[in-house]
Symmetry: C2
């Protein structure tokens, strides 16, 4: 039986409805959210302002099936790839432009507390399975897979995110733009009956955090487990407990002195849990996908950590429900993958992680063909662009395309070149380009407007290729002819 993800199945509609209902009952109601009734491809945003012109929408619609199909991509050991993007990955689902895909994502930090984030959840259990003989997903990272070479484990943890996908978009070719509308984004409830109706996430203040070499007392990694209210009555998360990382021996016998390989099961017999943590502190939730993007063309296996021109680990908390991303397509089919789900994060993601919490998203994928982009705001897009109801955002990085700019050693070199200053420079140039191309401003107009009406913020300082975003409000242009 298809799980509602095979449009060719004679009973597809029935199966898909079953999945929707399943999701509705088990996972949703959550946050009093509801599935957005997805409009047609030509639907404009709420404000009526979109980077997709009516003419482009029409051209795109003409190339897309009249009725969007729905797909469901669960997260399990067969549907995820761990720690890397790759243009060579076999698609897990194929869609047409305009189709809607529900995608489950799992946090790679679930094994920080398996009782709360893995147990009783078949999908998570299949992914995090790790016995002395077998791993549910062996390769974790873009690094070496030869046991004679790696030290920590297959893939060497060079890239850490559990990515669901890829999704193959039929007809997508390099030069096209893929529009990804996030119709919904909800936490994945804990499957362990002991914690019924709750959801959990993990925040690791880790060795790659911005604070790590600048601590007031001895260096340590500290993991804090957070709970998100599953009844939907509260819009905040609260800490449950924290613990200092102590060396953990994985089922294959490798000792992990630090958090150096994803998915290592934490043995809490060895940790000391402190439940007197952040008492009364309420963290506003901002559910979003830390890592969402397409496969790059430059390299066969790409570490998921540094964000890049085709998106990936941008770690902007605004990439949640209601947001739309635009990506330049670099390889055939685009190959969209989603992971690194977050319940909340601040601008900077200072300590190295957010509240890492499994989420399920509903995405509508719209393919704009290169030939239709001329003269539209998307014509010269060569960076990942974010559109919310009220704002447009560009993402600057220390290196706009580090894979191309830093040569053969790019994937290791990038970590030595992290810089907010460089990301600010890139964000400035991208915002200028955005204002000049999409709003048809002169350079002088764009320069003045950037100083008085555009806000620059620090996206993250922990992903190798550091990020600064620039935000401009759509309302600024509402009075234009």
């Amino acid at each position: 039986m298809c799980r509602g993800d095979d449009a060719n199945c004679p009973q597809f509609e029935l199966h898909y409805r079953a999945f929707r209902e399943d999701l509705d009952h088990e996972r949703r109601g959550f946050l009093k959210s509801s599935f957005v009734a997805a409009g047609g491809i030509a639907t404009l945003g709420a404000a009526g302002a979109s980077l997709v012109t009516p003419a482009l929408a029409q051209a795109t619609a003409a190339k897309s099936p009249a009725v969007p199909k729905s797909h469901y991509l669960p997260a399990n050991a067969d549907t995820v790839h761990w720690g890397y993007f790759s243009k060579s990955l076999k698609p897990r689902v194929e869609v047409d432009s305009g189709d809607i895909v529900t995608i489950e994502t799992l946090t790679h930090h679930a094994n920080d507390d398996a009782e709360r984030m893995v147990e009783g959840d078949p999908g998570a259990e299949s992914v995090f399975l790790w016995t002395k003989d077998k791993k549910g997903v062996d390769r974790r990272g873009a690094g070496p897979t030869d046991p004679k070479v790696y030290k920590k484990g297959s893939g060497e943890g060079q890239g850490v995110h559990v990515m669901t996908g890829p999704v193959y978009v039929r007809g997508a070719e390099p030069g096209d733009v893929l529009e990804v509308r996030i119709l919904d984004c909800v936490p994945r409830p804990c499957a362990n009956p002991k914690f019924k109706g709750k959801a959990f996430g993990s925040n690791a203040a880790a060795w790659w955090g911005y604070h790590y070499n600048d601590m007031l007392s001895e260096k340590r990694e500290v993991v804090t487990i957070y709970e998100v209210d599953a009844a939907g009555a509260k819009s905040w998360a609260q800490a449950v407990y924290n613990f200092k990382w102590v060396p953990q021996t994985d089922p294959f016998g490798v000792v992990h002195e630090t958090i150096d390989y994803p998915g290592v099961p934490v043995d809490h017999a060895k940790t000391s849990r402190n439940f007197d943590v952040l008492k009364g502190v309420r963290v506003p939730i901002r559910p979003h996908f830390g890592t969402l993007g397409l496969a790059p063309s430059e390299v066969e296996f790409v570490d998921t950590i540094p964000p890049n021109y085709v998106g990936g680990n941008i770690d902007n908390w605004r990439i949640g429900k209601g947001a739309t991303m635009y990506y330049p397509v670099a390889v055939e089919g685009g190959l969209l993958s989603v992971g690194d789900p977050h319940a909340s994060q601040g601008d900077s993601e200072l300590c190295g992680t957010a509240i890492e919490c499994s989420l399920t998203g509903v995405f509508q994928l719209v393919l704009h063909k290169k030939g239709d982009l001329a003269g539209t705001p998307l014509e010269e897009l060569n960076y990942p662009m974010l559109e919310t109801k009220d704002e447009w955002l560009v993402h600057g990085f220390s290196f706009a395309n580090y894979l191309k700019e830093l040569g053969a050693e790019a994937q290791s070199a990038i970590y030595g070149k992290s810089s907010v200053d460089l990301a600010m420079r890139d964000a400035f140039r991208k915002m200028r380009h955005f204002l000049m191309t999409t709003q048809k401003l002169t350079e002088d107009e764009a320069t003045s407007l950037m100083s008085i009406g555009v806000d620059f913020g620090v996206t993250q300082v922990v992903d190798g290729n550091w990020g600064v975003h620039a935000v401009v409000k759509k309302a600024i242009f509402a009075g234009r002819a």
Copy 2:
């Protein structure tokens, strides 16, 4: 007759009321704003959360007069100092803790369009007066005042802001904290009958802007004049015209090839004005004071451009109506000065200036004595802290106290050391300190919270000592015991 600024005048109350009414009719109504009825010293913020504990408020109130007095400090050649802070300046008004001071401020860019920003306004005319024989305010900047030494003009433009003040707070001593509540902040209407009911500002995309060495075509300085709606019906500014800076000869005969000295009258017979600029673009207004702070103790004359531990040119647009600043007092009397008024600015102030627009502010100054700070959130304050209704913000700089850190040549050295990376590091450390001292979090709790509930943004990249601010919402702590 006193102008309502001398509490010892037998007719002070009458004179002050006259000023208030004058202001009400001529300058206000503007933006449908109204003078906030200032509460007593012990009044808490709207949210009930303030860095001033009830005990501290009580101790402070006990040391302050029971009834706050009101003062009025107009802006004219006698009440401003231009381009520098100095611990040696003669106070323009003396106040007690709890007093309310209305302070006029003038933008140093008014002479970019004297017709719209100077003419008919006696205060502005007295400040910007410049004939072949006389300048209304001769010294402009912390630089040399010896005509044999300076090249551009007295003070050499090493510091550019027209600062009204200083205000001497009786009893203020090093180690105390001065709380500055901004009760109101309104634009100064144009005094030229030709533009009745309007207000204007200037945005200069100048050689010190972040964009300048990174332009797409030839380097140029471009000034854009903006209009703010004076009827209060619109919450946005719009461009009137722009012009490229061409060499301007000042009345003393010095040629200014670039914008290198403040207050040079622009001769529009030599410029080419382009009125086809930013058509239909509406810039949301955010009236605020770019430069507000106390005199530092380290040096006699201090350039107003780089912000510092006692505040100054922080250039955060949130320092407007309803905001409260807390400053460590460095010299006797504190010596508060205000200037660099802005109608709007984005986070980064990218091109070098905001919409530079004269404003009038109403400030309540509350002095917290060192002896009362022990055990309160203000105890270890050694940086300028911003509190709004809903948020607390710390300000990181490339150098927290550049005057002390960079030695004898600090005032020139700072411009060669501008860095967002360093400002981010300082903002991180200050926010950690803030959370640990004011919210009594452990280092591990503060580190986790910074990653998931604190937003870091780029304040400015144009003031030598570059800035990154960190924002935390008060509501995060609303559930604490």
